[in-house]
């Protein structure tokens, strides 16, 4: 099956526009400052890096899919995913794949 057919079967054919990355309105700035402060508040002395989390991500996703308490089992991975949007995005996509494809 071709990629496009797989895609259409899963998600339909509606075109989805990506959200504009530029949203630097004044109204967002208070929110951004709050976001930064939340990050500071959640900062730990020892944190895993993106590479370390990537090495464990497949295992983490499978444990989560099995209903395990991953926050308890792999707290440092969970914490990194809370802090890092790039890794969190990758986790969410991999989670969808494991739930629906793998």
């Amino acid at each position: 099956m071709k990629f496009k057919q797989i895609f259409q079967r899963l998600f339909g054919s509606n075109k989805q526009k990506p959200v504009s990355p530029q949203n630097g309105t004044q109204a967002d700035k208070s929110e951004k400052m709050q976001k930064m402060l939340m990050m500071l508040s959640n900062t730990k002395d020892v944190e895993l890096t993106c590479d370390e989390v990537f090495a464990l991500l497949d295992q983490f996703v499978e444990l989560a899919a099995q209903g395990e308490d991953v926050a308890q089992l792999m707290p440092l991975v969970k914490h990194h995913l809370d802090m890092c949007e790039d890794c969190r995005d990758e986790y969410k996509v991999l989670e969808s794949i494991v739930q629906n494809v793998a």
Binding site: F3, K32, M36, S41, C50, D86, E90, I97, A102
Partner: protein, 213 residues
Amino acid sequence: MDKRTNEEWIADLRAGGEQQAKALEDLRAIILRGLPYAIAGRLDPNSPESEALAEEVVQETLMRVLEYLDTFEGRSQFTTWAHKIAVRAALTELRRRRWREVPLPEMEMNEDGDSSYRELPDDQASPEDQVDRKDMLKRVNRIIMEELTDKQRKALMATMEGFPLEEAAQRLGMNRNALYKLMHDARLRLKKRLEKEGLTPQEVLSVFEQAGK
């Protein structure tokens, strides 16, 4: 074809010849079934661009799988491990395409720090709250100026503006992992300095939350 055990995947991919080719063909089909979940909501699935991206990512993933086969430790299904590599490759490329035209935000720094963050929207906060908030912003900006390196400030600004870490890292001439470490160091410095000044992030946050009410 999908029912290989982890050991069988490894053996087939290491075998070379037709055995390896068949395993790669099967893995390719598996990865292609997963990729729509990476592309959904990020690119028009009907565009030639989307199909070309999928092809590009599959090729890259298969190459990486072979290259890093020895690092697979069997702590997950082999196919989950391969999907993980594909997801990273796909999202990296999608981020690059989405953000490539967007310049890193510039900071207009002065002795008080980034001026743009001193002018918050005029919401319904009381005059006292607004004064508190302005003072606190000035203080936070000063701490940012004193504690962080130029690179850390640029990275902080970029991530506050929503730049993906990976894309900000590339613009700053480093990789994502190194930027995460740099930002972790920046967060620790800011947190410790706030503590030294008798503040916790929660207390600073409460000033903004009250002001926003």
